[in-house]
Amino acid sequence: MNHLLFTGKMKLADVLMGNYRLLLVLDRFRLHLGFGEKSVEEVCMAHGIPAPLFLMVCNVYTFGDYLPGEGDLKAIDVRSLLGYLQSSHHYYKEKCLPGIRHKLDALEERTRNRSSQILQRFYSDYQAEVMNHFDYEEFTAFPYVMGLMEGRAVTEAYSIGQFEKNHSNIEEKLNDMKSILIKYLPDTEEQDMLRELLFDLFELEDDFRKHTLMEDKVLVPLVEQMERKG
């Protein structure tokens, strides 16, 4: 499979042409468009981004059956990985989730009906739950990892094994919301708004799935290694 993956020698522009959804990833590495003919490695070098991490994210987001192997993990700098995960959280918290909220509010304003208010309420709860989850990662899990890197001893109070627990419920609620919009919302004239909402939800779901993979299959194994050594 590996011969299909993106490599550092490819032009970054070609990588983006190959998968437009990677445009989302650029922002998380604080990269701005206008790459000219520069290769992935050149752009990474110029911006102080570790190329192995950048490529891994691009490959995870693009190739559904790509799972980073042990050799790939060795090349990953945990501090940069945490930075990347945190900027993804920032994107969800500040742009993506509020964007969906905004569309739901607009729907309610247009329809003024009970069903869009029910949806609003469901989404508020969902958004709060996701925010809680990010807070937990940023204030408990990530500082724990930073501590390990600074040589703090492994304690029994917390281990990275507890990390994955919350992910499934967040995925399930998102999926429920899609089902509800597609199957159960009473007929309305606002089909354009519903379609936009659904596109956003599908997009977010895909994005979350890749984000979760970076956490569960890259961060967690790397930290487990550190714990064993610690």
Binding site: M1, D65, E172, D176, I180, Y184
Partner: protein, 201 residues
């Protein structure tokens, strides 16, 4: 025997020793043919549609069940085939329930073949899925109770049925609606006027 179509088998197993073992064992039985083996689920996914095996033997450890992935959910094209666990180390019994059969590392050739035949037959039997996807009266009643925040035990007591029955109703509700979480079911109940907003606050 010769004229009969061979049953096609795919192995999903990382150990070359086990793969070679199963291959050699089945090579002595003319009704079976191993058409492929893969060390990882991801390698196998796209090949299934091409190889269309009758039986898929899977090392359950290759399926990430810690995240409650159902083996069939990972193998989208696996509907027509028997998916069996090929077990070489301890695996939780709960995990095995999703498989059509279980082959243990110590099984002898004849019992392996027998188990594979059984799994294939069970798979071919017509599915008992109802063609009616609308919720029944009873299911609506239970869904409303779930949305109100009642526990399975409370619902069972209220309706004079067993907790087991409540759970099987809930499974059917989720299968029909595609909604898994209590908050999702609450939205369903509200939209369909099964409950009133005041009842969930």
């Amino acid at each position: 025997m010769e004229s009969r179509k061979k049953h096609r088998v795919i192995l999903l197993e990382a150990s070359p020793i086990i793969v070679a073992g199963v291959r050699s064992l089945l090579s002595t039985h003319s009704e079976w043919e191993v058409v492929g083996s893969f060390p990882e689920v991801s390698h196998c996914q796209e090949r299934l549609a091409v190889l269309h095996p009758d039986v898929l033997l899977v090392n359950p450890l290759l399926v990430d069940y810690s995240r409650r992935f159902h083996v069939r959910a990972l193998l989208a094209d696996a509907t027509g085939m028997a998916v069996m666990a090929l077990v070489s180390s301890y695996v939780d019994a709960e995990v095995m329930k999703q498989y059509d059969g279980v082959i243990e590392i110590n099984d002898d050739a004849s019992s392996i073949v027998k188990k594979m035949r059984q799994a294939m037959e069970a798979r071919k039997a017509p599915a008992d899925a109802p063609d009616n996807y609308e919720l029944s009266e009873r299911e609506n009643e239970i869904l409303a109770a779930v949305a109100k925040g009642l526990t399975n035990k409370e619902i069972a007591d209220m309706l004079n049925i067993s907790v087991h029955t409540v759970i099987s109703h809930r499974k059917n509700i989720t299968r029909k609606t595609g909604i898994k979480t209590v908050s999702g079911l609450t939205v369903y109940a509200l939209l369909n006027n099964l409950i009133d907003q005041s009842e969930v606050e």
